[in-house]
């Protein structure tokens, strides 16, 4: 079970990246960091440098996570990926989808996330203390780890798909994943850079949080089912047909 067409594989990577992009921890930290920077009278240039450093940190950590997951998978699954592994990953995605639907946001107003409170508090404090691009870069790295519980599923499925592609397509797939996963941050950074107020960005996030939660959970469900059909059922039938 190793020969899947590259279009289907890249489509899975793209869909996994879109799900990753719908998670909100990094956007929350970027909003908060920008708010503190503006509150401390940071110049426009410094604000953009901080936002740029932060987005770069998120991109690098996303690439590192994906590469690490791919490396571990390729070492553990030599030759091909057994249907049992795909089935387990699909189960994990359905579980993650259900968790997102039930727990992603904390109850009440605002966009508080269901992540460990001491970690949220740490990110809150760091976003206030961040004054240089290098610190913003580190904050970007950390913010991805904060919601590892949720991003784990799309990262693993993308890694499992990537390890069966040619090296060129692996590189393209990784770049595609990282680019798509960081697009919302780039968009928020561009809005801040263009002079939009953080209140308007936060208002939009709050009024659409249920939709974003539904989309992320539903996306995980849909991807889990698609991968199950594509990598388990179809592959099993094809293998039986060949014999």
């Amino acid at each position: 079970m190793g020969n899947f067409d590259s279009t289907s594989s890249l489509a899975i990577v793209l869909f996994a990246a879109l799900i990753h992009a719908s998670f909100q921890a990094s956007i929350s930290v970027l909003t908060l960091m920008s708010g503190h920077a503006l509150g401390k009278k940071a110049s426009h240039g410094r604000l953009l440098r901080l936002a740029g450093g932060f987005v770069a940190g998120v991109g690098v950590m996303t690439a590192l996570l994906l590469s690490a997951a791919a490396f571990v998978s390729s070492q553990l699954l030599l030759g091909s990926t057994p249907a049992l592994v795909w089935a387990a990953v699909c189960g994990a995605m359905l579980g993650a989808g259900l968790s997102v639907w039930l727990f992603y946001y904390k109850n009440g107003s605002g966009t508080s996330l269901w992540i460990p409170r001491h970690l949220a508090s740490y990110l809150n404090d760091r976003s206030k203390a961040t004054k240089q691009s290098a610190e913003a870069f580190g904050l970007g790295l950390t913010s991805v780890l904060a919601e590892l519980l949720f991003v784990f599923a799309p990262v693993v499925v993308a890694a499992l798909v990537l390890i069966r592609l040619s090296p060129e397509l692996q590189l393209i797939g990784t770049l595609l994943y990282v680019t798509v996963a960081t697009l919302p941050l780039v968009a928020v950074g561009a809005l801040i850079g263009a002079g939009h107020t953080l209140a308007s960005i936060q208002k939009w996030r709050e009024s659409n949080k249920k939709f974003l939660q539904f989309a992320a959970g539903g996306g995980l469900f849909a991807l889990g089912l698609y991968v199950y059909v594509d990598r388990v059922i179809v592959a099993t039938i094809s293998a039986a047909g060949v014999q």
């Binding site: 908060l32 509150g39 107003s109 508080s112 996330l113 107020t197």
Partner: protein
């Protein structure tokens, strides 16, 4: 300058502290600046709001930091609705 009024912190884990008008003023200035209000306007708005909150505070022996934030938001709503929206939210963004 601290008045002899205790401010009980949000979680109750940190020790109480005396009410500090300057600290409140700075936090409101920062909220106004974070929604891109010009510096002068931010300072005058913060001054007005801080006056209202100080008048409310002096009648109490102790207040919580959440009470202060709520009072400041209520008065800020009159002068700067956008800052009033953002001001109480920094703890509920992440």
């Amino acid at each position: 300058m601290g008045l002899a009024i205790d401010v009980v912190k949000r979680s109750g884990k940190r020790p109480t502290e005396a009410f500090d008008r300057e600290k409140l003023l700075r936090s409101i200035v920062a909220a106004c600046l974070s929604v891109r209000t010009p510096e002068g306007e931010a300072e005058s708005t913060a001054g007005l709001v801080t006056d209202h909150v100080t008048l409310w505070v002096v009648t109490k022996p102790a207040v919580t930091s959440s009470d202060l934030r709520r009072q400041a938001s209520t008065h800020l709503q009159r002068y700067h609705p956008e800052a009033a929206y953002f001001y109480p939210r920094h703890k509920i963004i992440i």
